[in-house]
Amino acid sequence: MAQIVIKNLRKDFGDFTAVKESSFTIEDGEFFMLLGPSGCGKTTTLRMIAGLELPSSGEIFLDGEEISQKPPSKRDIAFVFQMFALYPHMNVRKNISYPLASQGMKRRDIKAKVAEVSKILGIEDMLDRPVGGLSGGDRQRVALGRAIVREPKAFMMDEPLGALDAEFREHMSEELRALHDRMGATTVYVTHDQLEAMQMGDKIVVMNNAVVEQFGTPRDIYDKPATVFVADFIGSPSMNFLPFNGSVLPDQTSIQLGQQVVDVPRQLAQASGELILGIRPEHISLSDKGIVRGQVLAVEYLGTTQIVVLSTDYGELKARVDASLPVTVGEHIGLTFNASTITLFDKVSGRAIRSTLNDGVFPHG
C-alpha cells in the first residue's frame, strides 16, 4: 500500500504536449479519479505512473522512492486496461497466475493464491475456460484478478468499465468500489465519465488540455469549482453561466448584474472586466419575486425533479426544481439564486474568483 506523489510531471510527444507540469498527491489507500475529456492527458498520466510511458520531465514518488525512470516490471504497480488485454492464448487460470509466474513463485503457492482471488471475484468455476468465450463482465473480473493476485502497491485502472454495457457498468462499479474498500489499496482510476468519478472517487483530479484544472474531493469539485471548465464539465446539466461586466472588491457581498443586485458569498479578491456568475441548476428556484426573469422554453421531467429550461437576458438557464411544481411551457417566471452557492469567474483567465465559498480550494496548473 502506498502513497504516490506526482511532481511537475510533463510528457511531450514531439511537438505535442500531452501533460503539462502536473503535481498532485495520492494518499495511501485512496480511490483516486483522473477525470477529463478525451485527449486531456489523463491516460498518459496514468501510464507514466505505471511506467508504460517515461515522462519528459518531473518526478513520481511511490512510497518516497523516485520511480519515474524505472521499467514497469520493477514498480510493483498493477494495471487494468480498458480492453482488459487478457492474454488470448491462455485460459483464465494462466492469465491470473501469469504475474506470479514471473516472480518465480512456487506452483503450489500460485494455485492457492489463484483460488483465493477467484473466490473473491466469484470466478472459481471458469478457471479452466479460455478467455475468448467470456462475457465482458467476466473478462473484467479476470483482468481484476490478474491485477490483485500479486498484491501490488497500487492499482492503475484505465477506464475499466468503458467497454461494458451501461446496465452492467453500474453493477461493476459497485463491485470495484467494494473490492477497493476490502483491500484498501491505493487505486488510480481514469475516466471521462463525471458521474462515475463522483460516485466512486475519494478524490478527483480534473484535467483539461494537458493541465490539471482542479484537485480535491468530489464535493469540493462540485460545489467549489476552481475554473469555468470544471464547473461546466462536472454536473449534469452543467452549471449555468451568466456573463456580465463589472468589478468585485474584497469583502464585497453582492454584485451588480444588469439592473439587479445579486447577493454572492463574501469576496476575497479583486477582479474587474468581463466576469461570469456561475450557479448550479438546483440552486435556482422559481418565484415571482425573482431577480432575473425568464420564459420557460422546455421542461424535462426526471421523476423526482424536473429541469426547467428558461430563456433570459443572460442566455439560456436551466433550473432543477421539485417535480411536483407545476410549470408550463411559455410562461414567464422569476428566478431566485441561492446566494451562498454562487461562484464568480474571471472570463479571461477562466478561473474562479476567491471568496469565502471556495477559499482553500487551490486551483492547480
Binding site: 511506467g51 504497480i77 498493477a78 488470448p88 492464448h89 504475474p99 514471473s102 500479486r150
Partner: protein, 312 residues
C-alpha cells in the same frame, strides 16, 4: 423459403462448389501427370498416344537414386541372382547398379538451403517487423520503403553483380551463400507481411506483460509471438516456396557441393534420351516437402491471407 443476404442459397453453393472443383482439377492435372509419369517405365512415358492406364513401375525412382552401367548378356548371366527389387529392375534393362546418384545430396542441399533461408528470413523479419511496429524509429517509412524497393525488380536482374561478388567472397557454390541470397530476397516480403500482422496485435497485451513483471523481450517472446503465429506461418510458407523453387540463381551460382534439386533434376539423363520417369520421380519427391509443409500450416495460411481484412 427464407431469404438471407449473407447466406448463399443451396444452388449458389452448388455452382460455387462445382467451379472450385473444376479449378482444382485444372491446376492439379499437371501434378497428377507428373506423378503418373514417375511410375511409368521409360517406353511407356514416351509412348504415343500417351498412356493413361499402364503397369506401374518403380523404375523411375530406381533410376533417380542410382547410377547404372550397361553389361554384356554373358556377364549378366554370370552374376548371382538379384538381391532386391531395384537390382531386378535394372538388370531387366541389361544393366547393373554402379552406385548411388547425386540426387540424395542435391535434395538435402535443397532442404538445408530452403529451410535455412526461411528460418533466417522469419527470424530477422519478425524482429525487424516488431521494431518497426512498436518503436519510434527515425526515418521508419523511408527504411521500410528501402526494404521494399529490393523487390521492385526481378532478383535475377542483379545476377551478374551477385555472381562477381560471390566469386570474390568465395560464396559461390556454398550453402551459406545460397541461404544468404534467398534470405536477402525474402526478407523484404517477411518484414512487410509480418509488420502487418504485428500491427494488428494490440499493444496492450505486451503492456500487460510488462506490468506483470516481464521484460520487453519476454513480453515479445511469450505474448507477441504466440499471437503472431498465424502470420509467421503464412509468411514462412511464402518464403519457403520461393527458396525451394528458385532455379535461375541456383543454376548460376551452384554446380556441386551446394547445388539444389531444381537445377539438378533436368540433368538426369538416361540411355538414349531423357529419362522422363526419373525426372518425374525427382519432381514428385521435390514437391512433397512444400506440400506437406503447406498442408500442415494450411489453417494458418487461410487465416493468414485474409488477416486484417476485417476489423474485429
Amino acid at each position: 423459403m427464407s431469404y438471407s443476404v449473407t447466406e448463399p442459397s443451396s444452388r449458389q453453393k452448388w455452382i460455387a462448389g462445382a467451379l472450385v472443383i473444376l479449378y482444382a482439377l485444372i491446376t492439379m492435372a499437371p501434378l497428377v501427370w507428373i506423378m503418373m509419369t514417375s511410375f511409368k517405365t521409360p517406353p511407356d512415358s514416351i509412348s504415343y498416344p500417351p498412356k493413361v492406364f499402364y503397369q506401374p513401375s518403380l523404375e523411375g525412382y530406381v533410376n533417380l537414386f542410382t547410377t547404372r552401367t550397361r553389361v554384356s548378356p554373358e556377364r549378366l548371366a554370370e552374376l548371382p541372382p538379384p538381391t532386391n527389387f531395384a537390382e531386378e529392375i535394372v538388370r531387366n534393362r541389361d544393366m547393373v547398379i554402379a552406385g548411388p546418384s547425386k540426387f540424395g545430396g542435391r535434395f538435402l542441399n535443397s532442404v538445408i538451403i530452403g529451410f535455412g533461408s526461411t528460418f533466417l528470413s522469419i527470424f530477422l523479419g519478425t524482429l525487424a517487423a516488431y521494431a518497426f511496429s512498436r518503436f519510434k524509429i527515425p526515418l521508419a517509412d523511408d527504411l521500410l520503403f528501402f526494404i521494399l524497393s529490393t523487390r521492385m525488380m526481378p532478383p535475377i536482374a542483379v545476377a551478374i553483380p551477385i555472381f562477381l561478388m560471390y566469386r570474390k567472397l568465395g560464396l559461390t557454390d556454398t550453402h551459406l551463400g545460397m541461404i544468404l541470397l534467398y534470405t536477402a530476397v525474402n526478407i523484404s516480403l517477411a518484414v512487410w507481411l509480418l509488420k502487418g500482422f504485428i500491427d494488428e496485435i494490440p499493444r496492450e497485451y505486451e503492456e500487460a506483460a510488462l506490468i506483470d513483471g516481464y521484460t520487453r523481450f519476454q513480453a515479445f517472446y511469450k505474448v507477441v509471438l504466440p499471437q503472431a503465429a498465424t502470420g509467421i506461418a503464412s509468411t514462412a510458407i511464402f518464403c519457403l516456396i520461393f527458396a525451394w523453387n528458385e532455379y535461375a540463381f541456383a543454376v548460376l551460382l551452384t554446380s556441386g557441393t551446394a547445388q539444389t534439386a531444381p537445377p539438378f533434376i533436368p540433368t538426369i539423363i538416361g540411355v538414349g534420351g531423357l529419362d522422363w520417369p526419373a525426372i518425374a520421380a525427382g519432381a514428385t519427391l521435390f514437391l512433397l516437402p512444400v506440400m506437406i509443409f503447406t498442408v500442415m500450416l494450411r489453417k494458418h495460411l487461410l487465416r493468414g491471407i485474409t488477416f486484417g481484412a476485417v476489423r474485429k
